[in-house]
Symmetry: none
Subunit: 180 residues, 4 copies
Amino acid sequence: MAPRKQREIFAATLRLLADKGYDGLTVEGVAETSGVNKTTIYRWWPSKAALLAAALVEADMLDFDVPDTGSLRGDLVALVEALGVLLTEPPGRDVAVAALGAAVHHPEIDARRFFADRLARERVVFERAVRRGELPESTDPMLVMDLLAGAMWTRAVFRGLPLGKDFAAEAVAAVLDGVS
Amino acid sequence: MAPRKQREIFAATLRLLADKGYDGLTVEGVAETSGVNKTTIYRWWPSKAALLAAALVEADMLDFDVPDTGSLRGDLVALVEALGVLLTEPPGRDVAVAALGAAVHHPEIDARRFFADRLARERVVFERAVRRGELPESTDPMLVMDLLAGAMWTRAVFRGLPLGKDFAAEAVAAVLDGVS
Amino acid sequence: MAPRKQREIFAATLRLLADKGYDGLTVEGVAETSGVNKTTIYRWWPSKAALLAAALVEADMLDFDVPDTGSLRGDLVALVEALGVLLTEPPGRDVAVAALGAAVHHPEIDARRFFADRLARERVVFERAVRRGELPESTDPMLVMDLLAGAMWTRAVFRGLPLGKDFAAEAVAAVLDGVS
Amino acid sequence: MAPRKQREIFAATLRLLADKGYDGLTVEGVAETSGVNKTTIYRWWPSKAALLAAALVEADMLDFDVPDTGSLRGDLVALVEALGVLLTEPPGRDVAVAALGAAVHHPEIDARRFFADRLARERVVFERAVRRGELPESTDPMLVMDLLAGAMWTRAVFRGLPLGKDFAAEAVAAVLDGVS
DNA sequence: GAGTAATCGAGACGGTACGTCGTGTCTTGAT
DNA sequence: ATCAAGACACGACGTACCGTCTCGATTACTC
């Protein structure tokens, strides 16, 4: 089951999250923005965090396509660049960043849904690479993705630095070829 | 200038942050815990976020020593393992995670103080490695650290997965040697 | 017309009224207690007050028999004592008191149904007394009953005082004989 | 101690009580009407009932002077007539009636404060009468007042009947002289 | 050691939002 | 075609903190 105006509620949720951050996101605000009564929101989601979790899961805002460029390196660069765009340009940036902050101390937001589950989709990139012989079968795709995605987050969000034009390529090169 | 009970205030701040997360951290709670009046806190810090920022800067909770094992690989593994411990064991874990969540949408917390500035200290590891000939001079230490630290955050915090015994070593190997 | 479970609805209404007072009496509670849907109650009675009014009219909880002791004094003492019991012992006490509170600011409850209309039944006491010559024909029965019943209410409910063993007799004596 | 705007708060409370009855009296409404924040009201009174109780105690709306006409009969008639006015003319009427309804099922409103405590003031009427020899010393003033006041309430409020021009005099006569 | 700032405790206050309960209306799906 | 089930908008509840604001009462530094 779902509330009649779920669409509007989720839209309002993400909009307010992006606009005012997790703290500024209030159930009351969502209710007003989405033209729904506060009670209705509480009927369906037990807390602000749960509401946000549902909105994020449903949102396609954070999706990006899995590329198929013909080479592992190309695929990974494309993936990482897409993630870079996501993390630096509004409204994705604000939502992603706020969602992280929220997920980090609200287990019910279950960060896995936004970060970990993506791996399932990214995995095909690695399978293709193994089939092409670009990668030993023993390689751990999750490790590779954690290194790359982690670097993007660290650079763009924690350090608050702009992602240079070639950052994605350099990161991918480091992981594929090693730095030493 | 500083309030007379700054120590107690900061201690209470970090304690409450670790105990109840960023949301559960309230100025009122800090005041009560530290035996100070709410007014006093507002006299010195304009907001909860600013208070937390000050407390974190002062705290040594997040510090770890820069290792010197004789090899780059050893140093990096030690660094990453230390970060792993920090991110997975209380109270550091809770503080670090909460601090991230807070910093992420409160510019005044200036994430650089907790994440970026560490690089200055880590840099010596790379300088020693270059001197030893383990690393080409052209290597970008920040990229390496972003990859490694990012992977730890992603794995431990975003994915909420335990860090296996050898995760640090594997991550360092991937970055130093490449995966392909 | 009447809803199929009218009995249960009225029973639940009076039960909840006695248990939790007028404020604590809710349509929702009545619905649940009587195993009926809220909608059903609203279909038949426009408001909580109207429902209560209907329940009270139907209830025999507040009835008492008109005594016939052979003397006016005896009849009146018996009447007043019965009223005293009604006003001081549960569940009648709670229902009567709550009904008063409700009636007082809900015209639709029509207090006359519970208080005034009784006069019709009490009147025979006075008719018998006139016939016996105990009372001049000009005496106003309503005045007498208002004095006596009013004293009981004032003492038991407004003042919240226990009704002494002889209170009924004293009140009747005062009205019949005068105090001066 | 007392809130800074106690006057306004009490005035608003009684005004709203008279206007909308006990049910329609809301803390939120009082707050708005009196230009005070809801929190402030809850800071000082734990509930609507307690607020109303305080407002009623402070209110002079329900006061009337104790007459001194020279005779017991005259004093009582004056007293009862004043009560009659109180119970039939706004705003006293609405307040008194609503207060009764409220007091009846809210012990903290302590009906004694509005009904019983008045006896202390009325007692002088009886003392003077005893001194004048109009009344045996053994007469119970409370019984007399309960009979008279009770009759007024019953007639005016419970029965909802108008109080005739001579009702007070008749009631006093009945009690002083007896009806038989 | 007194005088004068700075600092503090106490706590009332206007606010915003919380999460809950009950109201009375309206829609819908099963019978 | 009726009616239970229950979603809904609404208003109020009582609570928690927010950040601001007087007030006096302590400090503690300076002369």
